[in-house]
Amino acid sequence: MTVHPVIRTVLQRLALGVMTLFFVSIVIFSGVEMLPGDFTQAVLGQAATEETVAAFRRELGLDQPAYIRYFDWIGGVVTGDFGTSFSGRAASGIDRSRDVVDLIGPRLWNTLFLASMTAIVAVPLALFLGITAALYRNSVYDRVVNATTLATISTPEFFVAYILILFLAALNPIFPSLANVSPDTELSERIYRSALPAMTLALVIIAHMMRMTRAAIINLLASPYIEMARLKGLSSTRVILFHALPNAWAPIVNVIAFNLAYLVVGVVVVEVVFVYPGIGQLMVDAVTTRDIPVVQACALIFAATYIVLNLLADIISIVTNPRLLHPR
């Protein structure tokens, strides 16, 4: 009973997160199960005999009842084994298949790299723009920032991508229009090649975060304690940074978490435009080839990303709430 309430709440949230992930795994498995079509038929074609199909299915374990396959899969996942990809197998019996982990690993790393690169620039920039827009609200600056970000968020991301390619790759060849990176690309080269996709993503997510920061702060400006701060003769900067911002974290952090999750799970369009070898493309390919283990692994990683980021946002909201952090 001596556990600090914040720690208790955090532990509760963690447990809840694990539970959620477990339920999501069931949903993913059932979802994939319900997909029309079948990998064996896709590979073997219409002409295959019943026997070859059955034999191939047996080899892949597809003849087992669904619940056994689910527990096999989830049991493996818990120990870090996501199974073996279906692709690379053929009816001939030659097995060039790879472990799902090996297949996803480099792609996930690429995606995380692009996401981090974007976030490192976009999050501070969005906060800065949001805070300054709140500080100089209704000024020309505020309107320009608002209008620009609204424009970028209203434009489809592939369009933003092609505009950037047009101006920064085609007309003024500053950056490469293809972001083909491989595991042995050097860091500086990697950053250089990923610049355009990162810029595209930043333009898409800054608007959302900036507008929420501005709104969360302005929302508080009518509070009596803000009036009190003004009546103490404090500068507007101090009023906003010291008195409004600390109370505005909860909504801001939630929007940041939402956008970071988007950077990991929602960037397939941008990956396609720049031919960036990320995890989004991998999943789309796996769906077309009915490569079930890869689809399931990607879906689970996406779900985990959402859960972890939202969990983090929750924890930060709790920790920045003095009522919870310093109980009576």
Partner: protein, 542 residues
């Protein structure tokens, strides 16, 4: 309380301030003059909407969003704040002029400790170093009679009580030793028993540092304790101004006299043997937190029982048990002799109809998108089964009962004044044709004159309809005015109950004693007299 130096500190000349509402600017302060000498306390009184706070803030050269200072002069120590730049005014605010707000709970930033906020203005204005300021703040906390003055500064606002916060805010205002403090209804949100001590602490501080103050309030008895002079405002115009003694004993204007005479309603207390409601041995809790302990209350048919006590005493919880919103853990609620099911959903429509409720905030108790016709018509349809024209007819009758005409039928709550809104809520309760109405602080948010009207209306309705009231309030004057019987509650228990005469005459249990003695009286010197006796009374409570 003395004005030994006649040096003028603040002088406002023909001050005019506009407020923005209904899409246009209206003049809300219409040419007010105000003079304040060094070390003097000026009481500013009037009803809400009189422009007291707006004028008080104007003394700092400040206008709230939606207000603008249009013309006039604000001379503070030789400079006209109307002509000064924002930067120059910022230098004065928090340094030479400080502000104490109505609700300390809202005016302290929840994210920072009391100490950080107390020393902030002084340190930011470069008046002292953080360390010096901290040491000084501890002394001020001690002077304000705060518990554990050396460490209380490390606490966050939610960790201390409302009375302590209000004192800490006065310390915060004092921290930079200003020449002028604006007190804006600083004790309105406090219980009477807490108010006395806060008032005393504020008065001591003002006297000790020889600070001038503008004390804004609607409570005459309070202003009589604090101010050297009193100015009465109404509709943004000065009604009259005089020194406190003259103002109390010999007000000139009719309006001032009417303010003074509000507490004059008095009704003959009666009791009856026929009990409409009996609460027997009720115990109730919110989750694991016990709030009511063995509460027994009986209500006579056609009479008024007042439940009085400070916040947290369990008054409103008792109402929640009676209405079925909070099922009791133990005990029975008997209505006309039959036990009521504890849970709201187990009660029949007939049982629901007979007990109705009126709330403190008429604003939030009505759907802002419904017209008066819909608000009152709904319970008429629901409980009496009337339809169409008959409903309209009944709504008209109900409006007549609450002394409003039928032109109100199609208005929205936003188009009504505070008193009118509360009347609509009364009509809504009456629409069910109840036998018992629970009134939860129904006049607390209203001005004194409007309060008087509502109380008279309720009493009149009782005579006419024979309805019984449970009247929940923390205001002793209201209790005196309307009760037949009184129940005093403290920390979830009934301390004393009986006929009004009985309760208001000696001897009392210690808590009733303290409660009654804490109610400010309109008499200069009451505060000093009371403080000495209150100490003994608190000691008696243990």
């Amino acid at each position: 309380m003395s004005t030994d130096s006649k040096e003028v500190l603040l002088k406002m000349r023909d001050m005019r301030i506009d407020g923005f509402s209904d899409e246009k600017w209206h003049e809300i302060i219409k040419g007010v003059d105000l003079t304040l000498h060094k070390g003097e306390v000026l009481g500013l009184i009037g009803e809400s909407g009189a422009g007291k706070s707006t004028l008080g803030l104007a003394a700092m050269g400040f206008a709230r969003p939606g207000c603008r200072l249009t013309s006039g002069e604000i001379w503070f120590d030789g400079v006209d704040l109307m002509k000064e730049s924002e930067a120059a005014k910022q230098k004065l605010r928090g340094a030479r002029i400080a502000y104490v707000a109505q609700s300390a709970a809202a005016a302290f930033n929840p994210a920072h400790t009391l100490m950080e906020q107390t020393i902030e203005a002084g340190v930011r204005h470069g008046l002292s170093s953080p360390d010096e300021a901290r040491e000084d703040a501890k002394k001020l906390f001690a002077a304000m009679d705060l518990p554990d003055p050396n460490n209380i500064g490390d606490r966050f606002p939610h960790q201390v009580s409302g009375g302590q916060l209000q004192r800490a805010m006065t310390a915060m205002a004092m921290a930079s030793r200003p020449d002028l403090i604006i007190f804006d209804e600083p004790t309105t949100a406090l219980d009477v028993t807490t108010q006395v001590n806060v008032l005393a602490a504020m008065r001591n501080a003002v006297e000790q540092f020889h600070t001038a103050a503008i004390y804004i309030t609607h409570d005459l008895a309070v202003v009589a304790q604090m101010a050297d002079r009193i100015k009465v405002l109404r509709y943004g115009v000065e009604v009259e101004e005089a020194d406190t003694q003259t103002m109390l004993t010999d007000p000139k204007e009719e309006y001032t006299k009417s303010l003074w005479s509000v507490r004059s309603i008095e009704k003959e207390a009666e009791s009856a043997d026929d009990k409409i409601l009996e609460i027997r041995n009720i115990t109730a809790a919110y989750g694991k937190v016990p709030v009511l302990k063995n509460v027994d209350i009986a209500v006579s048919r056609g009479k008024t029982v007042s439940i009085v006590g400070e916040s947290g005493s369990g008054k409103s919880t008792t109402a929640r048990v009676v209405t079925g919103l909070l099922p009791q853990l133990e005990g029975d609620v008997l209505f006309n002799g039959d036990p009521l099911p504890p849970k709201l959903k187990d009660r029949s429509r007939d049982q629901l109809q007979r007990i109705q409720m009126i709330y403190q905030m008429a604003d939030t108790a009505m759907n802002p998108r419904q017209t008066v016709r819909e608000i009152i018509g709904r319970p008429v349809e629901f409980y009496t089964g009337k339809r169409g024209k008959a409903v309209d007819q009944r709504v008209k009758e109900l409006l007549e009962m609450i002394e409003l005409d039928e032109s109100f039928m199609d208005r929205l709550p936003g188009e009504l004044s505070g008193g009118q809104k509360q009347r609509i809520c009364i009509a809504r309760a009456l629409a069910a044709e109840p036998e018992l109405i629970i009134c939860d602080e129904v006049t607390s948010a209203l001005d004194q004159i409007v309060q008087e009207g509502i109380l008279k209306l309720l009493m009149h309705l009782q005579e006419e309809l024979g309805v019984s009231y449970i009247f929940i309030t923390h205001d002793i004057a209201t209790v005196r005015a309307i009760s037949d019987e009184v129940v005093v509650m403290y920390q979830g228990e009934v301390v004393e109950q009986g006929g009004k005469q009985e309760i208001f005459s000696e001897p009392h249990p210690p808590y009733t004693e303290l409660l009654l003695a804490s109610v400010p009286e309109m008499e200069i010197g009451w505060l000093e007299k009371t403080l000495t006796t209150l100490g003994e009374k608190r000691a008696a409570m243990g």
